[in-house]
């Protein structure tokens, strides 16, 4: 997918709860996973990471939002695969742990390696943002329209207090909704799915704006640049953005990996079901879900 989409998507990364801020920088990061860009048969995969730092993107934070975005540039279809942060997986060079520890283990690169090992999908780019970056991006893009399935009041934790139905969320509301889990029966899985919903809502917004005026993409690029650090070239970013504007939201599926709830020691975790392998394979082959 193109940068624009990614920008939007990237921006959408959802940070989570419970860990104190460690730096003052509020900059999402963008980078390559491999030195060479080799989309397989026109398929591009981008890992979107939302860290739990209140500001900045320190590697010492936890990756509490992890979404693998695939784009098939031939069929112009795409998919978002959501990973609950409590997924108990093998992290290369670190051992078995919750997937969100991958960031502490070796930064965004290690999270990407972990997801690559898990899914067998070669990831082309990663992008990361934190609380402030995400909130600022949504704010500067004038909010995001979401259909909230369930009214909830999570004043004690995430701060998400929303009625059900279609509404425009401001930056702080989108962040709170992306973090909320205790008020939903699905807990971490529901949260991960909601994060995917926000990514798609941002893509819809990008699509709507650029349908009216294609030059609107330039604002998305500007906003992302203001709140992000890019390790990919401006050319790549522009072309990714163009690609994103050409993918119709209805052609983007999003799926949360199937899991079962369990525990390891005192820690509550989720185990990814064997059935996820079929999803990985389909995603790898099609670049979409």
């Amino acid at each position: 997918m193109a940068l624009g989409a990614f920008l939007a998507l990237v921006c959408t990364l959802l940070p989570m709860i419970g860990h104190p801020a460690r730096t003052n920088a509020a900059v999402p990061q963008f980078g390559r996973v491999h030195k060479t860009f080799q989309p397989e048969n026109g398929k591009i995969f981008v890992l979107a990471i939302g860290n739990d730092a209140r500001a900045g993107n320190p590697d010492s934070s936890l990756a509490d939002a992890i979404h693998l975005i695939g784009i098939n540039t031939k069929t112009m279809k795409a998919g978002v695969l959501n990973f609950p942060r409590d997924s108990y997986v093998n992290i290369p060079g670190w051992g078995s742990a919750k997937i969100n520890e991958g960031l502490i283990a070796g930064g965004p690169q290690r999270v990407a390696e972990t997801v690559e090992n898990l899914t067998g999908i070669r990831i082309d780019y990663w992008v990361m943002t934190g609380f402030v970056g995400f909130q600022s991006i949504v704010k500067e893009l004038d909010g995001v329209v979401m259909n909230i399935p369930t009214a909830h009041n999570d004043t004690g934790a995430s701060g998400s207090v929303l009625r059900s139905g279609v509404q425009k969320l401001k930056g702080y509301e989108a962040l709170a909704y992306a973090r909320a889990r205790k008020v939903f029966s699905g807990g971490d899985v529901a949260r991960s799915t909601h994060q995917g919903d926000i990514l798609l809502a941002l893509l819809k917004k990008l699509h709507k704006q650029t349908s009216r005026s294609p030059a609107a993409l330039l604002k998305w690029i500007t906003v992302t640049k203001q709140h992000a650090r890019f390790d990919i070239s401006a050319d790549e970013m522009f072309r990714l953005g163009i690609l994103a504007t050409q993918i119709k939201p209805k052609d983007v599926g999003h799926v949360t990996v199937p899991v079962s709830v369990g525990s390891v020691g005192a820690a509550s975790v989720v185990f990814i079901s064997p059935g996820a392998r079929d999803i990985y394979q389909r995603f790898k082959e099609n670049g979409s879900l």
Binding site: P214, A215, A216, L218, T222, K225, F238, R239, Q246
Partner: protein
Amino acid sequence: MSLVAPVQRRPWIAVAAGLTLLIAVVTTLVLVDLPGRHILSGRDDAPAVQEAVPQAPWTIKAYPAGVTAKVTKAQEKVLAKRRPEVIALVKRVYDSLFLHPGRLDGTLEENFTQAAATALKRSGAGVAEAGAAATTLRTARIGLQASGGARLAIASVTVRAARPDADAAPLRHKATLWMQRANGGWKVVAFDVDQGPIPELGGQNAGEGKGDGKRKGKRK
């Protein structure tokens, strides 16, 4: 002497007359025959073609885009330099598509990335030969990136064209060009085009604009 002298000057007079005649013939060929030759051969880069088929004037607006704050004076200065460049690029591309298709290959080579050029040719946008359409509307809105040295631009172009062939419906053409500045020049890196006949309002063909003859392409 008076009789001899003319005889002695006669070769010079003949040479001068010959040269004059030659110059006159060459001049006549250049001024008169060239346009006709182009028309007959189907080439479209002759002024006569443009004169024969009146074209609509361009309405182009190039504005700063991607702005989250007021455009600074420094940015405006850069924009002022870039604005004529992107306008010229858009005009050049559309002259090649609708007025001088014979120049299209050269324009694509110079102003498009290879992938975008290949895809545009495949899309069938524009007209196949010069004089096949007379534009009745030509508008472009170009968003020019205000920040970052104004290296990115996105143009939305609308063209409507009548066709001299009585059986051919007028054309409408809508396109988006994504342009990027590199190495001192601009390149179209991607485009999105939708071209087809204008449906006859209230006629039997009303609402058929999305059907026959519509050419659509989205390419990078």
